[in-house]
């Protein structure tokens, strides 16, 4: 699916539709000034509210239906294009219905939910426009599975080479491989911050002392190994370290690409965790709003 195609589907068909309906709704809203200040319970207010409510129910239903690709013969691109523009249109109509008043009442909360749902949708649209090309660029036309296969291979190589190194370097490299963190919690996935660690054995006052240190972006271990090359005493050790260094560097690069991939993928789905649950909450709030308005008519 072309994400740009969502916006310009059939010559911006739904944009023009939404602009036209939005203009009519605005005129209806302004017509209230002829007699009184705009509010929700004039005939204009009721009309705008009814259209906004129907629009919200329809958009929520569309969200369910959109999952079934090509449901009812209509291409998913059409559904999505309509969802985007009519979503913005419905927010405009809801704003006119409520005169953009946000209060800590059910009515204000309903409008606030509509606002958050729409803004999260806009965020989703923007990331869908921006992220896929960035992700493709980052993957170098590969897939995430391929990147993980590379990482697994590099881990094996690093472990094997580590065994040929002196114990302290071996332990550091092994712990760096063991202590590599990819993905994880919500923040770790979205921020892409590397919390990897490695265990360093050093000479202390009372003999050997080991401590965990941060291995951010795998820089610590790469620098550690690079610094050990000039200090190596044996030829075999130098060779092993010289072989190890490019492996660690490649591993560093692959890990970075994986993290960026997870981050972009995360951005493309995080908004849905706001958009979908709050849409359901909005439908509930809308029903409560309808009941409360007419129970105390």
């Amino acid at each position: 699916m072309s994400y740009v195609g969502i916006l310009n589907y059939r010559g911006y068909r739904y944009l023009w539709f939404s602009l036209a309906v939005g203009l009519i709704a605005s005129l209806v809203y302004v017509s209230q000034y002829a007699f009184e200040t705009p509010r929700g319970n004039t005939w204009q207010g009721y009309a705008l509210g009814a259209v906004a409510a129907l629009g919200m129910f329809w958009l929520a239903y569309l969200g369910v239906r959109r999952r079934r690709y090509k449901a009812g013969g209509t291409p998913v691109l059409a559904w999505t294009s309509a969802h985007v523009y009519i979503g913005l249109l419905v927010l405009l109509i809801a704003t006119l219905h409520s005169s953009a008043r946000i209060t800590w009442t059910l009515h204000g909360v309903t409008y606030l939910l509509a606002l958050i749902v729409t803004l999260s949708g806009v965020f989703g649209m923007v990331v869908y426009l921006v992220c896929p090309s960035l992700a493709a660029q980052n993957r170098h036309d590969g897939s995430r599975a391929q990147m993980f296969a590379q990482l697994l291979d590099l881990d094996r190589k690093a472990r094997a080479l580590a065994r040929r190194c002196p114990p302290r370097i071996s332990s550091a490299v092994l712990s760096a491989v063991e202590g590599t963190l990819v993905g994880g919690g919500v923040w770790a996935q979205l921020s892409g911050v590397d919390h990897s660690r490695l265990l360093l054995i050093e000479d202390g006052r009372g003999g050997e002392r080991s401590r965990w240190v941060r291995n951010r972006k795998q820089g610590t271990i790469t620098r550690y190994v690079a610094e050990r090359i000039p200090q190596a005493a044996k030829r075999a050790e130098v060779e092993a370290l010289q072989e190890l260094l490019p492996v660690l560097s490649r591993r560093q690069a692959v890990l970075h690409r994986i993290r960026v991939d997870i981050q972009l993928q995360g951005l493309m789905s995080i908004w849905l965790f706001v958009h979908v649950p709050l849409t359901v909450a909005l439908v509930g709030a809308l029903l409560a709003h309808l009941v409360s308005v007419f129970i105390y008519w």
Binding site: F35, G184, P277, V283, V291
Partner: protein
């Protein structure tokens, strides 16, 4: 614990080992990268098992994953030396701890880990975190419906049943679309059901009128029908509550009135209501005033005075400019009214021009004569004035003293003619019967009509003198009573029946459905005080209390219009008019004594 980890790997037919040490209370084994020892495989959980020290021995406990110790599946096991542990396809063995370590583990990783298994060991998708669209959606839906609908609804029923709920419980206040006006908030004590009595039924007029009892309809429902003006509107059609700005509660737009009043309204049973389109020249009819007067002959017919009200249009004066009379206080000949406009019938003889003439009327110790506010005090509504009365406004200067004896004045009671006559008679009979030399000789005042000399018996002389004095008071234009009052001389032989003072009524309001905010007009541009009053009311040329002195509408247009204009104050209908007549308000009339 200090744990030595020994990783063993087959390499080219021989085994290679590398060692790593770790210091922690427990060591986690699992597929997660957070685990101390990452073992990857389809059947391995992210946090599969944990190792810890139990006395001298190493103890392994499953965190939900399967562990096989020495070929036997177990959940918890204390490891004997050389115990074999299988986790998935990986093998671990408890080996003898080297010097300085509490325990040691030998780990033989299965080399055949698939890339897919490797990838699955990491959480790389947000759906693998605590985030769940479905769970969040259900929680949000349940939260919204419970907090915003179910609990307030239940609370509303409980409150109706008399329960008192704590303030923190979500109540139907959450449904408030906007604030109530202050008066309604106090009156309803924030209870929605005070007005919204029946669910799903709009607020009924009866519920409004249960408090607002004195308000009349602008047009009675029957007349609305006969005039074809449509059905009676609900109270809430015009008075819309829950606006953010409470000033909207009373509609003030011109259109609200001109919807009906732009054209002349004709009725079968009453005079038409003239068309009004705005408060502007040629768009608003001339003012009408309600004037009260005595019905002629009513006393003679019924024995009591009957007042009638008449609505009169205030036409602009056709007479020349007002002229200030030379002697406004003269009682010799009542000057003609300065205006030819409508006349009041208060039955009071009063000259504004005289009272404002500083040469004639002064206040003790104050130069410059009287000012308007010496008599006219604005009432609390800012529109009308405190009713005038003899005792509060006139007595200060106009004493009813009819005689003075040895420094003691004799005053007549105001408003009680029979009593006054009796007091005069008492006084003069007593005076006639007094032994010679006990009363002071009468003072001879200039212009005073002297009584004829009496030589009869003292009682008759006293009564005769009293009759003479009473006649002076009632008949002379500057007599004590006649100076201010209209008096009917019936010619009856009895002195008490002969003179009838015609009652005085001073109107304090002239408009039934409009009001004039005097308070807002106390300062008119650069004019203040009396000058502000006199700019509308021609008091200095008015010598009769009958002069109405209410300026016609043209005067208002000098300062007002319906549109915002430079140097003009914009007025809408509601600036001067009231919509609902008070049921008791049939031309507010005050009686003055």
């Amino acid at each position: 614990m200090e744990l030595m980890l020994r990783f063993v790997q087959a390499s080219g037919g021989r085994e290679e080992a590398s060692e790593m040490e770790t210091s922690a209370d427990e060591v986690i084994v699992g597929s997660s990268p957070q685990a101390t020892i990452q073992l990857i495989g389809r059947d391995i959980r992210p946090l599969h098992a944990r190792f810890s020290m139990r006395g001298e021995r190493l103890r392994v406990a499953g965190c939900g994953g399967t562990i096989v110790v020495n070929g036997k599946e177990t959940r918890v096991s204390e490891l004997a030396p050389a115990a074999e542990i299988a986790i998935g396809r990986h093998r671990l063995r408890a080996i003898e701890a080297p010097q300085g370590f509490d325990a040691a583990l030998e780990i033989r990783r299965d080399p055949g880990v698939e890339p897919a298994e490797f990838e699955a060991a990491f959480r790389t998708d947000l759906s693998q975190t605590f985030l769940s669209r479905r769970r969040f959606a259900w929680a949000a839906l349940a939260g919204v419906l419970a907090l915003c609908l179910a609990i307030p609804l239940e609370g509303a029923f409980l409150k109706k049943a008399g329960a008192v709920l704590p303030a923190w419980v979500p109540s139907d206040k959450l449904w408030l679309p906007g604030p109530l006006i202050r008066a309604h908030r106090i009156a309803t004590r924030d209870s929605c059901a005070s007005c919204h009595r029946v669910p799903f039924v709009r607020v009924r007029d009866a519920d409004c009128k249960s408090c607002h009892k004195g308000l009349g309809d602008h047009v009675p429902a029957v007349r609305l029908q006969t005039a074809g003006l449509g059905p009676t509107q609900r109270c809430a059609t015009c008075h819309q509550e829950h606006y953010t700005d409470p000033s909207h509660f009373v509609p003030r737009s011109e259109q609200f009135c001109t919807d009906c009043h732009a054209e002349e309204l004709r009725f079968k049973d009453r005079a038409p209501v003239k068309a009004v389109r705005a408060f502007a020249k040629d768009k608003h009819p001339q003012f009408r005033v309600d004037l009260v007067r005595l019905e002629p002959g009513s006393f003679e017919a019924t024995g009591s005075y009957k007042w009638i009200s008449q609505s009169i249009v205030l036409e602009p004066s056709k007479a020349g400019p007002d002229r200030i009379p030379e002697d406004a206080c003269s009682t010799e000949a009542q000057p003609q009214p300065a205006t030819d406009g409508p006349q009041q019938s208060s039955n009071l003889t009063f000259s504004h021009a005289c009272h404002l003439d500083a040469r004639k009327v002064t206040r003790p110790g104050v130069t410059g004569g009287l000012s308007c506010s010496d008599c006219h005090v604005l009432s609390v509504d800012g529109s009308h004035f405190v009713p005038l009365s003899m005792s509060t406004r006139c007595e200060g200067c106009h004493s009813l003293e009819f005689a003075r004896e040895r420094g003691t004045g004799r005053e007549l009671p105001h408003g009680k003619p029979a009593q006054a006559i009796a007091i005069i008679q008492d006084f003069f009979v007593k005076k006639a019967a007094a032994p010679p030399g006990t009363t002071a000789p009468p003072r001879h005042l200039p212009n005073r009509v002297e009584p004829p000399p009496c030589t009869g018996n003292p009682y008759d002389c006293g009564l005769s003198r009293a009759r003479f004095e009473v006649e002076l008071a009632f008949v002379l234009k500057d007599g004590t009573c006649r100076l201010c009052h209209a008096v009917t001389d019936t010619g009856a032989p009895s002195l008490i029946d002969r003179f009838r003072v015609i009652p005085v009524r001073l109107q304090s309001a002239f408009f039934t459905l409009a009001y004039f905010p005097h308070r807002a007009h106390e300062v008119l541009g650069k004019l203040t005080g009396d000058k502000a009053c006199e700019s509308c009311h021609g008091t200095r040329s008015s010598t009769r209390s009958a002069d109405l002195m209410i300026p016609p509408i043209g005067k208002c247009f000098e300062c007002h219009s319906n549109q915002p204009e430079k140097d003009k104050v914009a007025l809408s209908c509601a600036s001067c008019h009231v919509y609902h007549p008070r049921r008791s308000n049939a031309s507010v009339v005050e009686e003055s004594t």
